[in-house]
């Protein structure tokens, strides 16, 4: 407050001096005591009003960007000033009272705006044109880490997740939980061993027991470690690591989505970055960019290759996966649900790691389940709870701790609400709900 008054005086001192000068002049000039008293009184009122105005201005100056919630106080000060002037200077009374009233209305509306919860739209993500081809192995590896984990140095953070959404199922560090899919620690070395396993049937795709023999007709099988990695991304069901197949498929079908197809849709450049990181992080020399992309070209026909946009998509700000402004299919894709769940009506959502999300039908039964210990009383509450706190109730036959527990911070409130809206309306045997 003292600072504010000092600031007000530093701004308004010429006016105060002028008023003091006027006071002295009138004291000297007027002889009638009544007139003198009246003039003194009016100048004092003027001083008070000027003081209020300059404090209001100082408040604006000091708090315009910082404590902007305090700015309506300035308007209140000017309101008070205007009404005081209106009372004691009747010749401008109407103007001052009207002006004061307008300031009052503006103060009330500004105050209301400042009282409501304050939401600030963050900066858009930087627009970066990536030229993977001309990057060094380290740069490429860094980009790969960003795609997998969302940022450089994030690979050691449990729960960190990027565009590729790999950590939803895979562990990447020795000892990290990886029950849904193989832990990818040491994968470059292990890949060569996989080729030698009897179920892999190197160079004999037709003999494979899997539901899909080849990535596409005539693509054949991998013949080296890099090709193995590329094939497992482009055709996860071509070979399923024992114990990680879809339940009941006897490891002939993988629950993993094709990584170049929706919902993930990584380009060849991005895939090269991901693969490079897996080599580089273990201190190994990675194959060249050209070798990696050639390995993918073997398993992804040209028509299926996602366009090299070259620019990072403008995603929501603040490090969230989705902000709810996306169309429904894209929202589910960004949130990562299709990787594990089948969501009827959502393109590409055929995941088989978690239950099928007919939540309109499932939720009432689960709430009634004696094993249910949550707080939900309605379908919406149940769905919200199972997204934000998945371990509160774990569906029978599905293991606990499979679903990430940080969707509360990875999805905006709007995104969660939109997902909950859709899932709550999904009922088995009934038409699909609208996607709006």
């Amino acid at each position: 407050m003292v600072d504010l008054i000092k600031e007000a005086i530093s701004i308004g001192w010429p006016v105060f001096l002028l008023l003091i000068g006027l006071l002295l002049y009138l004291q000297a000039k007027l002889s009638d005591p009544g007139e003198k008293k009246s003039a003194t009184f009016k100048i004092m009122i003027g001083m008070l009003c000027a003081f209020l105005v300059f404090v209001a201005i100082a408040n604006y100056k000091n708090n315009f960007y910082g404590e902007s919630r305090l700015l309506p106080v300035s308007l209140v000060m000017i309101t008070v000033m205007a009404f005081i002037m209106g009372m004691y200077f009747p010749n401008i009374g109407a103007l001052m009272k009207i002006g004061g009233f307008m300031f009052f209305v503006a103060a009330a509306l500004s105050g209301y705006g400042n009282w409501l919860p304050q939401v600030e739209g963050g900066f858009p993500p930087p627009e970066v044109k990536l030229d993977f081809q001309s990057m060094t192995a380290q740069q490429l590896g860094d980009e790969g880490e960003k795609i997998i984990f969302g940022g450089i140095g994030q690979s050691k953070t449990q729960g960190a997740i990027g565009k590729g959404q790999c950590p939803l199922c895979h562990g990447f560090q020795q000892g990290f939980l990886s029950e849904r899919a193989p832990n990818l620690f040491d994968i470059p070395a292990r890949a060569t061993k996989r080729l030698e396993e009897p179920n892999y049937h190197m160079n004999d795709a037709a003999s494979r027991p899997s539901v899909q023999k080849e990535a596409f007709e005539g693509s054949g099988t991998a013949t080296n470690a890099q090709e193995y990695i590329a094939e497992s991304h482009a055709c996860p069901s071509c070979y399923v690591v024992p114990g990680f197949g879809v339940k009941g498929s006897n490891d002939t079908e993988s629950p993993m989505p094709k990584i170049h197809k929706p919902p993930i849709s990584l380009t060849l450049g991005e895939l090269a970055a991901v693969d490079t990181w897996m080599y580089v992080r273990e201190g190994l020399e990675s194959p060249s960019y050209e070798e990696i992309t050639a390995s993918y070209e073997k398993f992804i026909p040209e028509a299926d290759r996602p366009a090299e946009g070259g620019e990072e998509e403008a995603g929501p700000a603040g490090g969230v996966l989705a902000d709810g402004s996306e169309p429904m299919d894209k929202l589910f894709m960004k949130a990562g649900c299709p990787g594990c769940h089948t969501v009827p009506g959502i393109e590409g959502a055929t995941g088989k790691v978690g239950p099928v999300l007919y939540e309109g039908s499932n939720a009432p039964n689960r709430i009634k389940d004696p094993g249910y210990k949550g707080k939900a009383k309605s379908v919406r509450e149940y769905v919200t709870e199972s997204i934000l706190d998945p371990s509160v109730y774990v569906v029978k036959d599905f293991p606990d701790n499979q679903m990430p527990k940080d969707f509360g911070v990875k999805l905006s409130a709007g995104a969660v609400n939109k997902i909950v809206d859709y899932l709550s309306q999904l009922k088995e045997g009934q038409p699909l709900p609208p996607k709006e």
């Binding site: 315009f64 902007s68 919630r69 700015l71 309506p72 308007l75 109407a94 103007l95 009272k97 009207i98 002006g99 009233f101 307008m102 300031f103 209305v105 503006a106 103060a107 509306l109 500004s110 209301y112 705006g113 400042n114 409501l116 919860p117 304050q118 939401v119 600030e120 739209g121 963050g122 900066f123 858009p124 627009e127 403008a314 700000a317 969230v320 902000d323 709810g324 402004s325 996306e326 169309p327 707080k375 919406r380 509450e381 919200t384 709870e385 934000l388 509360g408 911070v409 990875k410 999805l411 905006s412 409130a413 709007g414 969660v416 609400n417 909950v420 609208p434 709006e436």
Partner: protein, 660 residues
Amino acid sequence: MGRLSTQMTRKNKRLLAASLLVTMGVMLLMPIIMAIPALAGGGGAPAGGPPPDVVAAQKEAAEGEGEEEKIEMGRDVYYKTEGPAVGMPAPKTEDNETFYPRYNFESRVLLWFANQQHLYYGSFVLAVPIFCMCIEFAGMVSKDKAMAKKYDQLAYDFIKISLTAYSLTAILGGILIFTFLTLYPAFFGYLSSIFRPVMHIYALMFVAESGTLYIYYYGWDKMREGILKWIHVSMSVILNVIGTVLMFLANSWIAFMMSPAGVDEQGRYLGNIWHVLHTALWNPLNVHRILGNMAFGGGVVAAYAAYRFLSSKTDEERAHYDWMGYIAMSLGVAFLIPLPFAGYWLMREVYAYRQQMGITLMGGLLAWLFIIQATMIGILFLTTNYYLWQALGRMTGGERFQKYIKYLVFILVVGLLIFITPHTIVMTPAELKAMGGQQHPVLGNYGVMSAKNGGINAIIMTTILSFIWYQRGNRVPTVSWAKFGNIFMGCFFLIAQLNNVWLACYGYFIPANVRIGLSVPQVAGTLSCLILMTPLNLAMLKGGRQLGPIQWGKIPPRSQYALIMLATAFTWMMGLMGYIRSSVRLFWHVNEIMRDNSPWAYTHTIGFAANVISFNVLFFWISIMFVFWLGTLGAKKAPVTGPVTQPVPGTPAPQPVTGH
């Protein structure tokens, strides 16, 4: 013979005057005529573009790649048609002084200020001539000569106010262009290059608008009688046509920024200027702005009248400005009522254009601003009702209704509280987790859509009832079917209100997607009250018994604060909605075409926006009060004669206080 000659001379003079005016009118309309071939031909290739250094850099890059200069074909981002990419691509800006020169202050706020001030004044000077046209026409066709003179004087008073504001509008337009050029040269250069085929038309229209306005104003006294009066009124039509076209052209810039068309995905102009103008949101914006301008113009004139009323020294002055305030307020509110429907259309088109844009507005980042808007709509209606109740006080017989007002207050307050209660709240993930869902544990039970619709419909119906009471203030229906009419009207209001409340409650028991459909019967009830009951009331009052005259000027001074409240709230809401419309582009100068890479490419908090809006509103009012004051300097006092009472509500009697 001499008499015949005098008659001939007079006739010739009139003919000459008419010919001159027609010639002048044609010349003034020349820009529109010139515009037609340009629009039909799709306009020429824009020669403008981004700043020279950017153009040079881009050209150099193209040459460096060894590309030959050839015209490529591009695909329209909206119309999906093919066209020659004759324009430069939208510049890719960077956060530096070349693209974003700056002072030691946020450039965006400076531009916001300049834009908003120009818009306020522009709206005012475009709205007032429409009022003038209506009022002058009403005066001209009026059979009552005294009445005709009063209307004529009122129209003149209106145009006089706008004339002073007109030059300020032009100055602010200049300031706006300089602000653009200084702070956002790349962006402004790009927009100018796109709109180049119609830029000269815009400038010429402005000249035409000024010329017509000056002839209209200064020719008022000379063109008082006969055919000249018709020509004068016709000129007001020309004036408004030019003004409206001018506004449409200005709107096309903002519509292009929100929903670009006529360019390919790189932002290259494809040679069809009509596509650039006629974007997805152009027409909804045009309609919304015309109505908004009218409501705003009514508010400003009402505030002017209130100011003059409160500073009046005589009863005659008070009577005149009381009447003027009433007419302006009625006009403003008349255009306020259809405004939400235009708003719905605009929002529907926004959703149709880009769903995520609609969600950002109504259910995302900007959703809280709509809560403020709801509150303001409620305040506007409350204030209108308050004014009408105060106005009953100047009518003998108006006291009959006073005892019922407390019930209306109750309905209005309850309706407002329901209307502003949010159901689904926008919040952060942490808040969501803490609350366990998007609905507040207590409030979440109340704010469903049908209940909120019920709230606002109850408010509007109550306002209609207040207006009907106002019309009946000093009159009693004497038609033979008066009793039946009263019972019918009472039952109609009761049933409409019960239907509204029942549907509001029923909404709690049905799913959300079905509940949305309830708004149709709710609104239908309200509109029926407006469309059927107001004319029925007038029919009942025809030839009715008068209990006493309207004593213009006898309204309590506090009623004038209601007018000022209306005007300030209109202005604030205009600033708020303009901010919402503009900020929905988020980090795009031109949506999905030209990215905003300035340091201000983020969305401010609601509080910050509210502070800037308040600043803009107050600056506008302080400056326009200065304009009003300037207007009074030129006015010479005229002797006031005639009665200060008026027997029929809504039809004026007081004499003008200024001459011309």
